[in-house]
């Protein structure tokens, strides 16, 4: 094979990269368009580093390929016999050090800026669960809002039984909503294993570590919907726990806060009142689909041995209190998490009632929110 074709073959990927990136939207080949100051810095830093690396690369391999062409035996090249040159060796040790110093400088500034989580306008706690996110607005406008955020892509789309939507796997039922231009501090933690809260457009990725609080921040400069994923392997459905953030104007944010707080108030009422069996089962089915079906399966058969069946389970058919306790507190060392921290008393009562009255489980008994509340005590 001739030299020319060798060069083309080796240079092919680069040429390919160059021409595809010229003709399509940048976010398919490069970092997503940044919407925060930090993300912008990262974006341009990456471009800079890439250029430096490319220049060195072209330089080094320019020399190498020149040599490959000209210093061949078939071209009559006679081997020289030098094998040392102190000056050159010092030069190619020192020059890279200088280049690296040049790279380290902007990076250092950005690292320090990224770590500055002081004086936020709003503080949100993001808790990773297998496999969904829970959000608590801890401080600033919206304080007291709590909700869970589940992937909302239907199973049928994943299994190829329905056409995939535009935001396939990047959509949730309850998105995080924040106001534009405000400094938002995000505290991350997790209930079971390590997850990672990542929104590329914000330049934010922070591991959520069970038992620890870590923090990060962003100030989104542009209204819009930004999507990300959990970025730390967290088990079976790691690929299915997206993050969706809506950045909205101050007015729309206030309106959203009002709506959410009203829902919270309604939930308080639900927790306090007496429920009928029918309503509980109906609501329980919805809660089950959203929170339990991933592991225990919609048919209650589970995926033994990791995820036991609920259909016919002695625990589910047995004493109420024991089941309430397990659901509230989870089971150590397994994927069964403590749902007490995630769901309201009414939701828990509903879902427990549902499992006790679904499939072949027919207790006919209702579990009331007050019983759950009592279970929390001990």
């Amino acid at each position: 094979m001739g030299f020319a074709s060798r060069i083309t073959a080796s240079a092919l990927p680069i040429a390919y990269a160059a021409c595809v990136s010229a003709q399509d939207a940048p976010s398919r080949y490069n970092l997503q368009p940044p919407v925060t100051g930090i993300a912008t810095e990262i974006y341009s830093m990456h471009t800079l580093m890439l250029i430096i690396c490319l220049v060195i690369f072209v330089g080094v391999f320019g020399v190498m390929f020149w040599s490959v062409i000209h210093h061949r035996k078939s071209r009559g090249a006679v081997a020289a016999n030098f094998h040392e040159n102190t000056a050159v060796e010092i030069a190619w040790t020192v020059v890279p050090i200088l280049i690296l110093l040049g790279m380290a400088w902007p990076a250092t500034k950005t690292v320090i800026a990224m770590k500055d989580t002081s004086s936020p306008d709003i503080t949100i706690k993001a808790t990773g669960y297998q496999w969904k996110w829970g959000y608590d607005y801890l401080q600033g406008e919206g304080e007291g809002i709590r909700f869970l955020s589940n992937a909302s892509t239907p199973r049928e789309q994943i299994e190829g039984k329905a056409e995939k939507g535009a935001h396939y796997l990047l959509e949730v039922d309850n998105p995080v909503v924040v106001p534009v231009g405000k400094k938002v501090r995000v505290l991350t933690t997790a209930a079971d294993v390590i997850h990672s809260w990542w929104v590329p457009a914000f330049g934010v990725k922070q591991d959520a570590i069970p038992g620890f609080i870590r923090d990060t921040w962003f100030r989104a400069e542009q209204e819009g919907i930004y999507r990300g994923n959990c970025a730390e392997l967290c088990g079976k459905d790691h690929g299915f726990m997206p993050i969706e953030v809506h950045v909205v104007s101050a007015e729309r944010y206030s309106a959203w806060v009002q709506g959410r707080l009203a829902l919270t108030a309604a939930a308080k009422v639900d927790d306090a009142r007496e429920w009928g069996l029918g309503e509980l089962v109906e609501r329980g089915r919805v809660v089950f689909e959203a929170n339990c079906a991933a592991c225990h399966q919609a048919d209650g058969k589970g995926l033994p041995p990791a995820f036991p069946a609920l259909d016919g389970s002695p625990l589910v058919q047995g004493d109420k209190a024991a089941q309430i306790d397990l659901v509230l507190k989870g089971k150590q060392g397994t994927a069964m998490m403590a749902f007490g921290a995630q769901l309201s008393d009414a939701d828990l009562a509903a879902v427990i009632t549902y499992t006790r009255n679904a499939w072949s489980n027919v207790s006919g008994e209702a579990v009331q929110p007050v019983e759950v509340a009592a279970g929390r005590g001990n």
Binding site: L187, F212, I213
Partner: protein, 283 residues
Amino acid sequence: MSETLERYFVPEPSKFPIFGSVALLLFGTGAALWLNKVGAGPWLFFAGIAILIYMLFGWFGQVVRESQGGHYGKRVDVSFRWSMGWFIFSEVMFFAAFFGALFYVRVLALPWLSTGDNEAVLWQGFSGEWPSAGPRAHEAFTPMGAWGIPAINTLILLTSGVTLTWAHYGLLGGRRGQLKLGLFLTILLGAIFIGLQAYEYLHAYVDLNLRLDSGIYGSTFYLLTGFHGLHVTVGAIMLTVMLFRVFAGHFDAEHHFGFEAAAWYWHFVDVVWLFLFVVVYWL
């Protein structure tokens, strides 16, 4: 010239390694099954151990025969020295992982958990003081004090280092009686150490409510002291083998690397204990 031309001893093909491999295969499978409560587990596990013991006897027996047969020249001796040294270094790194864990939790993790957001949001009121079983400790325990059995054990191990060196001088000076007595005393001290350690564990479980699951204190305490105890046991076995070899008339002032290797190992175990005593019991 004679040194450079001396042929390096290359052993004959041997069946022992494959026994060792089968042993570890059974051992690993058995342990995994046992831990997951599968019936066959313990059987495989103990079968593995039995084969391993057979293999060790056979293999080391052959090494001893080769050594006594004069097959090992100077260079083989040097190889043995290098290899024992680097083996001990690898053991140092193994302990370093556990010491590192202890250091990490005491210097970093517990202070983190008990201050700032971690304390405010997750673990309100957690003080993080060592000894700690963590913010969700359910049962109180008493930590292990340094000045009872551990201090005695420190003395025992230090003394055993002295008796071993004394034995070594005996060997070098051709005083077989001193060698035998010194070695015997060392093994005896080792045995007493292990006995006291076992008693200490019993005391910890029964009286102090200090268990393997007593949070991070229990975890680091038992893993560090447990692995050390295991090493003392191995060292004592090595020394016992050496004692038998001394009785069999092996070793002289020039050729006694087996003895020295066991001694190096013993001193290594000794030094690890000193670190343990300071960071696990004392500070």
